[in-house]
Amino acid sequence: MSLPVFRARTAGFWLGVGWLLLVLSGGLLAPWLPLAFLPAVPDLQHVAEAPDWAASPAHWLGTDPQGRDVLTELLYGARQVVSISLPAALLATLVGALAGGAAGFWGNKGLRLPWAGWLAGAAVGWWGFALPGRWPCSLALAGLAGLAWWHCRSRSAKLAGWPLPLDTMFQSALTLLGAVPRLVLVLVFAAGPALGTTQLVVLLVLVAWPEAASQVRAQMLRVRELPFVEAARAAGLPTSRVWYRHALPHACRPLLATAPLSLAGLIGLESTLAFLGVGRPPDIPSWGNLLGTLQQEPGAWWILASAGCALVLTLLALQQLARQLGQRA
C-alpha cells in the first residue's frame, strides 16, 4: 500500500504535501526556531502595526492589536494544529473504524455473549453503582453467573446466549450525536471552564468519529459478504481474527480518502472555537485566535492575509491530498 500511494501524482499533490510538511515541521519545531519574539508576549511599542521590515528586530508579518508578533503566533498556531487537530483526527478515524467495523460485521445478532457473561456484567454493574441491596444482589447475580458458566461447561454444548445488539447501539449513538449540529455540540460541551489539550482532543474525537464510522460500516456490510471472508470463516479461523485481520483492512479502504477531509474539518472546527474564544484560555496562540483579533482591528490586512492564507492553504492542501488518495493508485 505504501508505494503506489506516491506514484504518478500531479504537481498539485506534491505542493500540498510540501505545505503540510512545512506546517508540521513549523508546529513541531516552533520552540527551537530563532524567533525574535516570544509567543503571547505583547510588544507594547508596536501595537497593530503593518509589517515593517526596516526595523530591528523586525516584525516580519506585523503585530496584532495586542502587540503580539504575527509570525510567532502563526508558528505556534501550527503547533495547535499538530497537537490538537491531528491527534483528534487520527483518534476519531481509529475509533470510527473499530466501531463502524464491529457494527457492520456483527450486526445485531452476530455477537452472542453467553449468559454467564451477561450475569457477571450485571453483578459488576450492580456493585459498582452501589444500587440498593448492594451486597446480596450482586453476590446473587455473581452466583447465577457462576452457575450458568458451570452449566455451559459441563454440557460442553454450543454456547447459548443473548446477542449483543451492536448495530442498534451504534445507530443510536449516531442519532444522538447527530441530533444537533457539530459546532453547537462542541460549543455546548465547551461551555464550562476552559478545556485542557487532552479534554479538547477528546471532545473533538467525540463529535468527529461518526463520520468515519458510518463509512466503514457501509463498506463492511459489503465486505463481509465477499468470498474471501467466507473462505476465512470456512477455514476455521476465530471470528475475531477474521474481523480484524481480513475484513477490517478491506473495509477501511475508503478512509484513506476521507481521513484528510476529516482532519480539515477538525482544523476548521478548532479554529472556529478559538475564533469565538470558547473552550481555551485566550492567550494560547492559534490561527483562529489570530483571526479573531480582526474584530478589534478590522483594517488589519496583514493579519487576514497571513493567518487566512495559512488556514486556507492547509485546508486546500488536505482537500487535494484527499482527492488524489481517493483515486485508486
Binding site: F129, A130, L131, P132, R134, S172, T175, L176, L177, G178, A179, V180, P181, R182, L183, V184, L185, L187, V188, A190, A191, G192, P193, A264, G268, L269, S271, T272, F275, L276, G277, V278, G288, L291, L294, Q295, P298, G299, W301, L304, G308, L311, V312, L315, L316, L318, Q319
Partner: protein, 357 residues
Amino acid sequence: MMQLGRWLAAQVGRAALAAWAIASLVFLLSRLDTAKATDLLLGEADNLGTAVLRTDIDATQRQARQAVEQRLGLAEPLFYVTRTKQAGAISWHWHGLHNQYHQWLRGLLHGHLGLSFRDGQPIGPRWRAALAYTLPLTGLATLGAIAGALLVGLVLAGGPQATLSGWRAGLHTLLTGLQGLPLFALALGLLFVFANPDMLNVLPAYTGSADAEELWDQRALRLVLPVLALVLAVLPELALLLAHALRHELSTGYATTARAKGLSNSKLLRKHALPNAILPLLTALAGLLPTLVAGAVVVETIFALPGTGRLLAEAVAMHDYPVVVAGVLFSALARLLALALADALYAWVDPRIRLVP
C-alpha cells in the same frame, strides 16, 4: 402510502427522541454543579464588602446564595433519584416529582424555557426577540442556497461534452475550493472586502447595537453580507451534488432517446433530467437547516447581529447554561423540522415512493 407514513413517523420519532435525550443530557450535566451557577449571579457581590468582618460576609453570602438558589429553583434535587455519598457510604434517594428535571420538562411543555443564570430573567422573551433576526437570516439563506444550487448546478451540467472544460472547469474548481473553507474565514473575508473603510465600503456591518426603531431597509441591508456568507458556505456542496446527479442522468438511455427525438439540450436538462436528479438534493436539504443554524452562531458573531446564534455564543462564554440548553433545543428542533420537511418533499417529488403499497 401507509408504509411510507409509518416510515416517516418512525424517522421523525427517532430524531425527536434523540433531541430529547441530548437536551436532557446537557441539562443534567449543566446542573450537576449548582454552586457554580449561583457564583455567576453573586460574582459582583464578592468584591464589594472587603471592609466588613469576614464572618459577616460569609453569613450574608450564604443568605444571598440561598435566595438565588430558591429563585432559580436550584434548591430542589436534580433528578428523580439521586446518589449521595456520605462518609464513604453510598445511598440512593427517591425524590418523586419535585425535582429540577421534572420542573424543567413541565416548563418546556408549557413553553417556558426557564430563567437565565446571569440575570435571573426568563429566557423565552429574549429568545423570541433574537429569533426576529435569526429567522429572516436563515430563511433567506435557505432560499438563496436552494436557488443558487439549482442555477449553478444547471449551469455546470449544461456543457456540451461529458467532461467539464473551459470556464465550467474553473467554476467547478472554485466551488470545490470554497467547500473546504470554514465559515468564519469566509465571513471575515467578505467583511474585509465589502464593509471596510479601506476597501469597498458598500455594505454596512458594524453599526453598533441594533435598536428597535431601525428602518426596515437598513435592517435588510445589514442582512445582505451575513446571508451571502451563509449561502456561499452551503452552496458548493448542494451545487456540486446536483451537477453530478444531472450529468449522471444525461448519460442514461432516456436522455439519449430524448436527444434523438430532437429535444434541445436545455429543455432536456430542465424537463427530464432535473426531476430525477433532484432527489439526492432533497436528502442534502435535510442537513441544510441545521448547518445554517450552526452557521448563524459564527455569522451573527462576526456581523454583530443580535440573533439566537450570538445569544448562544455569549451564553457559552458566560456559562449561562439555561440559555445553552435552549440553544440545543432550538437547533435540534430545526433539524427535526428539516427532516420532516425533506421526507414530505421526497414523497411529493418522487411518485415511485408514493406508489409503494
